[in-house]
Amino acid sequence: MSTSELKETQAHCKPAADKIMFSDAIVDAVKNVQKRYPDAQGAVLPSLHIIQKEYGYLTAEAIRFVSQQLKVPESDVFGTATFYSLYRWASPGRHQIQICHNLSCSLLGAESLIAHLEKKLGVCEGEVTKDGRFSFIRMECIGRCDGAPAMLVDDEYHGELTPEKIDAILKKYE
């Protein structure tokens, strides 16, 4: 992905984080997290996490902001950010479903659960439901194999899933 492509993908998204001025709280949080590391570049991952937590996803503006705050070249921050699977580049749903499809979960029916989710939500992997409530992605082992098949909804684990159980869980999230 190049920076120009990145801008393209953001054009239709709302609310666009690049229209938002990064708040003093974010500036302070990025400043604070630098204290944990012997040099500023160490703070690249945590700074990106801070922004993603606040706005839900990263943008070209977020990369520029981190670059300026940490005095690390923009290209390096961009290179780092795009290496990892779990930085997001588009707005997720209000609740993010991360469902595991690795071996322990797939042995116990993960694929049919994913098919159920797609049908139930009416979206494919990576998309957001029309009402903005949910988005979902497939995950490579979330370390909940003892409760397989399993998923994370936001920061909460749900295990030993069945289609009925998924339906009941989704009802809890507005």
């Binding site: 944990r36 590391y37 012997p38 040099d39 570049q41 160490g42 703070a43 690249v44 991952l45 945590p46 990106l48 996490h49 940490l70 690390v72 390096d76 290179g79 780092t80 290496f83 990892y84 699977s85 779990l86 930085y87 991360q98 499809h101 690795n102 071996l103 322990s104 797939s106 042995l107 116990l108 995950m139 490579e140 082992c141 979330i142 370390g143 909940r144 194999c145 003892d146 409760g147 397989a148 994370l152 936001d154 920061d155 909460e156 684990y157």
Partner: protein, 433 residues
């Protein structure tokens, strides 16, 4: 008198059900007050009364081997780092736990963080590191909050920070959260990621022990490895090394998943047989089905068959049986599983996680994935088995780091043990389970 004390300690070990997981079931075990009441931080005093070199030697004599997967002798790793001159060294805890099937460290991270912190303070003291980081995988959001709270409590009580217990020992600790990359469990990739870079492995030498994080001497140990340290110091190497298998003693947390009646974590002496783990502790195969295959140590360890059930689950015995202990993540498959399908899932994972740095791994894993995708779509050809073996050969021994080598293990072992599944899949076009 010394012998009587030793005998008591031995008996205690013998009758103790759990060490590493002894606090995980206690309500509010993550609270520092509760943890202290049940023995947390009680070993610091004894450790600080020893010289750092004696702590290193105790761990060496205990023959502790790394629980992350490679099984490197921990004491030796420490000694290499401790010997390098310099005031600034780092201790990194590898809590990336990304190996599919592995979830053992999650129990310590989420339910007994103070055991890990105590282990890290002692380990830092031993190698001369005053700064530590816990590299935590992104997929453990719950552990993140728990660890950060535990660390802040430990600072408040004076078990972290400056002049711990008034003994002049300093140790600072923080959590560094990953962002979704299996490769960061490889120690030099972990260092790159800690430094804010793309998580791609570094060439060695220099080894981390001499030039690791920010070019300073660095030790990287797994969560379970570091959690063993307080017990080695409190029991003494002699007593500790009586637990489990002689060549790699100690307790081991086996994490069992897949088609067993009672999946979960089981802390057992190192070297417990696969049969005992699956049939005695996990209640056997789910639904009374027949066992077909077992992955003994996570996705990158070769598959075994029911003929291997009596193998002792320790480093050397599993190598002799043609596999590896890895992280001790046992994945159990019953007779209904098609091994082409199971291997497809694992190959898809490795193709996704290959970091792209070296060609054999980047291309090899994606080629494997393409061939398996073809097989799964019922479009396999009779040449595909040989093609898979050929691709494995172009990867084997030619990669920059162990990821590529791990990726071909499920392919090679499933073809070796379950060739019939492949032949049937190619002949009938049906490869689902």
């Amino acid at each position: 008198m010394r012998h009587v004390l030793q005998l008591c300690a031995l008996l205690e070990v013998y009758f103790m059900e759990k060490m590493l997981l002894k606090r995980v079931d206690i309500p509010n075990s993550t609270d520092i007050g509760v943890a202290i009441k049940h023995g947390a931080y009680s070993v610091l005093e004894k450790a600080f009364a020893m010289r750092p070199v004696d702590v290193v030697n105790e761990v060496k004599r205990a023959n502790l081997r790394g629980r992350g997967g490679a099984g490197f002798p921990t004491g030796l790793k420490w000694e290499l780092c401790a010997r390098v001159p310099g005031d600034l060294k780092y201790l990194l805890c590898n809590a990336d736990e990304g190996e599919p099937g592995t979830f053992k460290d999650r129990f310590i991270l989420q339910q007994d963080p103070h055991l890990l912190i105590e282990g890290m303070v002692i380990s830092g003291y031993a190698i001369g590191a005053e700064r530590g980081y816990i590299y935590l995988r992104y997929e453990y959001p719950k552990a993140l909050g728990i660890l950060e709270k535990a660390i802040s409590e430990a600072y408040d009580k004076g078990y972290l920070g400056k002049n711990i217990l008034g003994k002049g020992v300093n140790f600072d600790l923080s959590v560094h959260r990953g962002a979704g990359a299996y490769i960061c469990g490889e120690e030099t990739a972990l260092i790159e990621s800690l430094e804010g870079k793309r998580g791609q492995p570094r060439i060695r030498p220099p080894f981390p022990a001499s030039q690791g994080a920010w070019k300073k001497p660095t030790v990287i140990n797994n969560v379970e490895t570091l959690s063993n340290v307080p017990f080695i110091i409190s029991l003494g190497a002699e007593v500790y090394s009586k637990i489990g298998e002689e060549t790699s003693p100690g307790p081991k947390i086996y994490g069992v998943s897949g088609m067993v009646s009672k999946p979960g974590v089981y802390e057992l002496p190192m070297g417990t047989t696969l049969r005992e783990i699956i049939f005695t502790h996990c209640g056997g195969v789910r639904g009374g089905k027949k066992l077909k295959a077992v992955i003994p140590g996570g996705a990158s360890t070769p598959m075994l068959t029911p003929n291997h059930l009596d193998v002792k689950m320790d480093y050397n015995s599993l190598v002799a049986a043609g596999s590896m202990l890895g992280s001790g993540a046992v994945m159990v498959m019953d007779e209904t599983v098609n091994m082409v399908n199971a291997t497809y899932v694992l190959v898809r994972f490795f193709a996704h996680e290959s970091c792209g740095k070296c060609t054999p791994c980047r291309e090899g894993t994606s080629w494997l994935y393409q061939v398996y995708t073809r097989l799964m779509h019922g479009q396999g050809t009779p040449d595909d088995i040989d093609l898979l073996l050929y691709i494995c050969d172009t990867v084997k021994g030619k990669c920059f780091c162990p990821l590529g080598e791990g990726a071909i293990q499920p392919v090679l072992s499933s073809i070796k043990h379950f060739r019939g599944d492949y032949e049937q899949c190619i002949a009938t076009g049906k490869c689902g389970h």
